[in-house]
Symmetry: C2
Subunit: 335 residues, 2 copies
DNA sequence: TCCAATTGGTATAACGATTTACCAACAGGT
DNA sequence: ACCTGTTGGTAAATCGTTATACCAATTGGA
């Protein structure tokens, strides 16, 4: 079923069919001719060929989204937001885990190089994100980075990261904690630095000092969270509270505390960044700071699709301020 | 950078460039000519246009995957498997949540209709899955259904569902339980029926009767699991164990029990289908039955990409048998 | 009656890559 | 000198859609 088949069936030229399908406002056409065309389209179940259309119009209606780890629930929220907006804009999303980009043959790289996607949303810092980014840059594919400023002409969309850790730290301080450790994410990531800054500022404002050994950087996974938390606890026996930059790592931290026969929050309080609904059902319900992840996904798609804005600049998602969700993992210190 | 630019730069015809890029074995070419072409490709950073290539070759290298809910961790595993295999086959995956297909304008529907995807992997039973399926069928897009037999010519890939619930039920029976309820998933889903069968068979084999009121059907979400479990508990006061068809619903069930001031496993034992790493960190670590989700995702991609097999038939993933993962949510009954 | 305008379309050239068939030049054998 | 192979490529026709420019009738007004 090509456009010419429809044209033949309706007794018009292919151009008319195309213009009917695309709702061309400049097309002048008789009532009944239009009806004939529409009928042919319906009866023959015509749908325009995607490749031909992309070729001609130089736009595919596809957006690539590369994230670190598709199994992290935090990413699920971002994707949901992205999907919703993409749906509204008539675009589809190609998802890729950073880890699958190592093959030279990666289809995603081919697509980025060959105009196969209209835009790229990249959570930088992943395995081969530089490779992707370099390719996108050379081919000038509109790119939006999630929470990671890099030296490239891409738009950056950020969460109120330093506010979030500030709020978390202030809460712990208000409970009476003074020795507050940090279980951070990758040191090279921009948002890690922002969150670290929030924590430091809050501590400083409260007149508390922090020493170098009270922050440790790790991956946002349960296992790594557990290992890093263990290390932190051993290095800082006097620490009474722990601020985790990722909720998944916090789950590992919870485990680490329990491994040592200690209790949360009695022996150690924990507050984590990012609220997920599972947080309420853990061995100790986690007190968290909720960030607008859904909105970030949505906004990223919006920005990457918007031809009017240039691709440099920073957008901070602040539709709502980070919000403290108090559960049971933080309490007043017992020592 | 089109193929002609490269051809011009290398002083050859576009045909040669194309055949070099695609490693055409039948191409006879001089050593140094090939070098010249390769140099032009590298220096000008040429990448073939995806749309043109798809148009000519009638294949996009894209696979659509539609799932119920991208935030369910169970889906994450399936996607991981799918990604890995897709990467190896040089394909990319377009992911869509069932819920975003309602807009008429959905890009995914357009792609399916217009040869924009090489195949479709569909978790049926979702919001508008029939719509997608009908479209794919009419356009004869290779389709693989996940765990849901439907009246269409699509390949079906299944998990050993009835074995899983059998194993779970046998375990509960071996602990001494006789009144075992079922928190099932959507009644219309094939895998629900298979799991239900496994449960019934195990009960029957053990000489236990089950009455109609001891099974309830719900959505795989925490909230629904909580509501459904409450209903089930109230209707069956003598029930001592609960088999949940989805681990996320089981989290809700856990909550439901605790809401009533009861304890797991003392007052009620819970076993859930699907093992996720979070299961170990819940308020009560869940005993689960692990199924090869990753393999299912991988196999689905393989099947949908394989032109040699017809698209009818059923594949059951049994690379490993369902495996009981004993944690702390099931114990001998106290009454 | 004649000159605009308007109506209702159509013809054609791209878009960029692939593939089939073809061909020129030369070497080697007899 | 003549035929046969081989080497090293090339020409041109698609794939299906869309945008630009154009055009033949008809209508309306003076």
């Amino acid at each position: 079923m090509t456009i010419s088949d429809i044209a033949k069936a309706a007794g018009v030229s292919p151009a008319v069919v195309s213009r009917v399908v695309n709702r061309d406002k400049t097309l002048r056409i008789g009532k009944e001719t239009r009806a004939r065309v529409q009928k042919a389209i319906d009866e023959l179940d015509y749908a325009p060929n995607a490749a031909a259309r992309s070729l001609r119009s130089a736009s595919s209606g596809l957006i690539a989204m590369v994230v670190h780890d598709v199994t992290n629930p935090v990413y699920g929220e971002i994707l949901r937001g992205a999907q919703q907006t993409a749906g509204a804009l008539g675009k589809a999303i190609i998802v890729s885990d950073g880890s699958h980009l190592d093959d030279r043959a990666s289809r995603l790289l081919e697509l980025i190089g060959g105009n196969g996607v209209d835009g790229l949303i990249l959570q930088a810092g992943g395995v081969n994100s530089d490779l992707v980014l370099a390719r996108a840059g050379r081919k000038s594919v509109p790119t939006v980075l999630l929470q990671a400023a890099l030296d490239t002409n891409a738009h950056l969309v950020c969460l109120p990261d330093s506010r979030a850790t500030q709020i978390a730290t202030d809460y712990l301080l208000s409970l009476g904690h003074t020795r507050i450790g940090c279980l951070a994410t990758g040191r090279e990531l921009t948002f890690t630095r922002n969150r670290e800054r929030g924590w430091r500022q809050a501590m400083e404002l409260a007149g508390q000092s922090v020493d170098a050994g009270s922050i440790v950087y790790g991956h946002p996974s349960i296992e790594d969270g557990r290992a890093s938390a263990t290390q932190l606890i051993e290095a800082n026996p006097s620490m009474t509270a722990l601020l985790c930059f990722n909720v998944v790592a916090a789950i590992g931290a919870l485990q680490a505390v329990q491994d040592r026969g200690l209790r949360v929050p009695d022996d150690l309080s924990i507050v984590a960044i990012h609220d997920i609904d599972l947080a309420d059902h853990l061995s100790v319900p986690l007190t968290t700071v909720a960030m607008p992840l859904f909105e970030m996904g949505a906004r990223a798609v919006e920005l990457v699709s918007d031809k009017s804005t240039g691709f440099e600049g920073t957008t901070t998602i602040d539709t709502r301020d980070p919000e403290l969700v108090v559960r049971k993992s933080a309490a007043a210190p017992s020592r």
